[in-house]
């Protein structure tokens, strides 16, 4: 978690862009020409904001973060917000009653203090948003899971502590065309990260690499263990493999990638092992559920079969967090129609 005194060093524009757009493709950089009228019309993704009337289903106006003002002839009601967003190729949409934003800021101002950490801030923010959703002052798409209680800030903090304990480091090294493409090495001390170092620093630490994932990961781990260690997690992969995996919701995809050594974990913390294992379990569960569905149709053990199938689906992060963060991330990323690195060749020229 990046805090005030976190040092972020060793990233050039390209490596930073490659790293961030893996998980936030909508933030990808665009050339100035892309903001011409023609370019904007071609843009997909972005956010649609709809200003609703004080009551009822009518909208007073709608605007797209890339395309500008939108016609309202296709607008029906806030309950059809998702369809409206898809019609305009938007990835996210929100509709607001008059005063909703001011009300949100009133609530945040009254509940948050400067000493609240990121987890508490996120928890209070999510709570305030959910209140506005319940009051029908705000509509979101994709929506927050309504029936699932928000995990408390302490659970989020505990998850963070488990993912990267204080005094430990994390290394992500991503390769492309036989060279270190992007990545980071970070160290945590106390509540937040003390530093996040990019490929320039990693390259200085490790010296020349062979471009062979299997061999290089050992050198990378040794060097970064001494720099940011002990490492709690090391992830080594090709950038495009990781990009595809993050968008893949097929059960077993991660497990198969690990088995094929397309993704290497070294070290592999327990939680990551459980996650990969859970992915394998999901694959197994899917197969079992298909069998169970057949059983349901042909045997008098339907109840038992259904219970078994549902049990097999909850042996992962969902049972802890109330939702599966990897599934959620994957779902959001799949909505991204464009690859942010379509014009990657441009940067290579620099």
């Amino acid at each position: 978690m990046i805090v005030h005194d976190t040092r972020i060093e060793g990233f050039d524009a390209r490596s930073w862009h490659r790293l961030l757009t893996l998980v936030v493709p909508g933030a990808a950089s665009h050339p100035p020409q892309a903001w011409s009228a023609e370019g904007r019309a071609r843009r997909r993704g972005g956010v649609v904001l709809v200003q609703l009337a004080a009551s009822g289903d009518a909208a007073a106006g709608a605007i797209h973060s890339a395309r500008g003002a939108l016609p309202l002839d296709a607008w029906t009601s806030p309950r059809e917000l998702d369809a409206f967003a898809q019609r305009h190729d938007a990835r996210f949409a929100l509709a607001l009653r008059p005063g909703a934003l001011a009300s949100l800021y009133e609530r945040l101002g009254g509940r948050l203090t400067l000493d609240d950490d990121t987890w508490t801030t996120l928890w209070i923010l999510a709570g305030a948003v959910r209140e506005l959703l319940d009051e029908r002052a705000l509509y979101l798409t994709p929506g927050l899971p309504a029936s699932v209680p928000l995990p408390p800030a302490s659970a989020l903090r505990a998850t963070w502590d488990r993912a990267l304990p204080s005094g430990h480091g994390v290394l992500i090294a991503l390769f492309d065309e036989g060279r270190l493409d992007t990545g980071l090495v970070a160290h945590r001390e106390g509540p937040g990260l003390t530093f996040v170092h990019g490929p320039e620093v990693i390259a200085r630490l490790c010296g020349p690499l062979r471009g062979d994932l299997e061999r290089d990961h050992r050198a990378l781990r040794a060097a970064c263990d001494a720099w940011a260690g002990p490492l709690s997690l090391g992830l080594y992969a090709h950038t495009e493999v990781l990009r595809a995996l993050l968008r893949n919701d097929t059960p077993g995809a991660w497990t198969q990638a690990v088995a094929r050594r397309e993704v290497i974990f070294d070290p592999l913390p327990t939680w990551a092992g459980v996650a990969v294992g859970a992915d394998a379990v999901r694959l197994f569960a899917r197969n079992v559920r298909e069998v169970a569905t057949l059983m349901e149709a042909v045997a008098p053990v339907a109840v038992a079969a259904r219970a078994f199938a549902s049990w097999m689906t909850v042996t992962d992060l969902r049972s802890v967090m109330g939702f599966d963060p990897l599934d959620a991330l994957s779902a959001v990323l799949r909505r991204s129609a464009s690859n942010p690195d379509d014009d990657e060749a441009l940067d290579r020229e620099l």
């Binding site: 990046i2 005030h4 060093e9 050339p31 020409q33 890339a66 400067l114 950490d117 801030t121 441009l346």
Partner: protein, 485 residues
């Protein structure tokens, strides 16, 4: 007024002092002639006392800057660096209830600060103003000798970031130090800025070196449609970016008498959307082609917390810095900015060529001949071919006209468009008569928007000094006004 400069942001506190000389030398080699130095208040605050010798000795830094022959533009804020936590404001002040801006219900007004939320200070708070004045006095005391020797050419006061956070109707500050019936935010802001400027002058900074941005922030002048609110048929209300937006902002920066700093970006703050080096460079080329008098590249070298800076944390140029060096060299080849009273030149108008330039598929593949870019920056386009030489000959032979005097300081033929090179850059020029007096229009290359060159002083009907207006469909709108003479 800020003299013509090509500045790079350099935050001394984010670098090891042993790196300072190397970083300054590298910036000079890249073609910069000035450094833009944001001083972050919270880094020098010791429980209310200002210590400018720690964590870095700023006097030594400014000595080095002067020794390297750089001019320095210093930003005192109090909020002046995008990458500084809490906008650079000391936490002790943000915890002070007497400082925070208030919502209608008395809650603190908050804004995002990275992954947390921070309260906004109130411009009307007496305690905030006094604390700011102490900071400005201390910093101005350090800077005054450098300003007297010419090493520090501008000291920028004012909260650029905070200005943009108070645009919405619901954002009105209900701080108890403000009149209960409410006060015009512009009045509050002006009083606040005057308070800061008074503190700086009291500490010995010459008035001429002080720059106090007026709302709206010079970095992002609003599109007129954005000011009126979103209009159904004009997406520029939210997307006034891209080539056209860049050009308009850059042109505006050539016309403002108080010397707006046009800010270009190399890289970005960690919580901002990442920018490709290629795209940043394309934007810079468009802006440089508009001929801004003073540019700042954020960031040249800011140490940590600015991925993609031109220099790395050791003060060494990154790969893409060489491309910036070429563009800056082209900008440096421009004639130095001259006072508006000097002569400008009329050159040939070829609207088709201008339109062709805008339809170029890539700014990296610009046609080399007879373009606005080549007229303005031969070295930028890299062309030395025959057509370019013909254009230059035309410029030399063209009938000159005078851009001087008030009110008749512009004298191209009334109602006729001419291609001109103003003291700051190339443009289509036309003299028009407005309610406020005679103006010279300098039209952007897109021929869709226009800015008005008001290098002379010109008062509107209310007596306010107008600095620039924008023209569309024959209508002249005030784009920016400065309230004092």
């Amino acid at each position: 007024m800020i003299a013509s400069s090509r500045a790079a942001v350099l935050r001394p506190t984010t670098l090891d002092p042993t790196v300072w000389p190397a970083a300054l030398a590298a910036l000079r080699d890249l073609g910069f002639d000035a450094v833009d130095v944001p001083l972050v208040w919270r880094e020098h605050d010791r429980e209310g006392e200002v210590d400018l010798s720690a964590p870095r000795d700023l006097a030594r830094f400014f000595d080095l800057v002067a020794a390297e022959g750089f001019r320095a533009i210093v930003r005192l804020g109090p909020t002046c660096a995008e990458d500084a936590p809490a906008m650079g404001i000391p936490d002790r002040l943000l915890r002070d209830p007497a400082v925070c801006a208030r919502t209608r219900r008395g809650n603190p007004q908050v804004t995002l600060d990275g992954l947390r939320v921070m309260p906004l200070p109130s411009f009307g708070s007496a305690r905030w103003r006094e604390a700011c004045a102490r900071w400005v006095r201390a910093a101005a005391t350090l800077l005054a000798p450098y300003a007297a020797r010419g090493g520090v050419t501008a000291v920028v006061l004012g909260p650029a970031a905070l200005l943009t956070l108070r645009d919405a109707p619901d954002d009105r500050d209900h701080h108890p130090d403000l009149p209960a019936e409410g006060e015009d935010p512009a009045t509050t802001l002006r009083a606040y800025l005057d308070h800061l400027a008074g503190a700086a002058r009291a500490a010995g900074l010459p008035h001429a070196a002080l720059v106090t941005p007026r709302a709206p922030c010079p970095r992002e002048p609003p599109h007129p449609d954005a000011r009126r609110g979103a209009r159904g048929d004009d997406p520029r209300a939210v997307a006034a970016r891209g080539v056209e937006g860049l050009w308009r902002v850059a042109r505006l920066a050539t016309t403002l008498p108080h010397g707006a700093l046009l800010e270009l970006h190399a890289g970005g703050a960690p919580f901002a959307a990442p920018v490709r080096a290629t795209h940043a460079l394309q934007a810079a080329r468009v802006a440089l082609a508009a001929g801004p008098r003073a540019i700042t590249v954020a960031a040249g070298c800011v140490g940590h917390r600015w991925p993609g800076a031109l220099l790395d944390e050791k003060g060494r140029p990154r790969a893409h810095a060489a491309h910036w060096a070429r563009a800056l060299a082209a900008a440096a080849a421009w004639p130095a900015a001259r006072p508006a009273s000097e002569r400008a030149e009329v050159v040939r108008v070829d609207a088709a060529v201008v339109r062709g330039w805008w339809s170029a598929p890539s700014l990296g593949e610009l046609p080399r001949t007879a373009t606005l870019t080549s007229l303005a920056h031969p070295a930028l386009a890299g062309g030395d071919d025959e057509a370019l030489r013909r254009e230059q000959a035309l410029q030399r032979e063209a009938r000159p006209f005078t851009v001087a005097g008030d009110p008749a300081w512009c004298a191209p033929p009334e109602g006729e468009w001419v291609r001109g090179v103003t003291p700051q850059g190339a443009a289509l020029l036309r003299a028009v008569q407005t309610d406020g007096g005679r103006c010279l229009l300098a039209v952007s290359a897109s021929e869709e928007t226009a800015s008005v060159q008001v290098s002379g002083r010109w008062r509107d009907e209310q007596g306010a000094l107008v600095e620039a207006v924008e023209v569309a469909e024959g209508e002249v709108r005030v784009l920016r006004a400065e309230g004092e003479g």
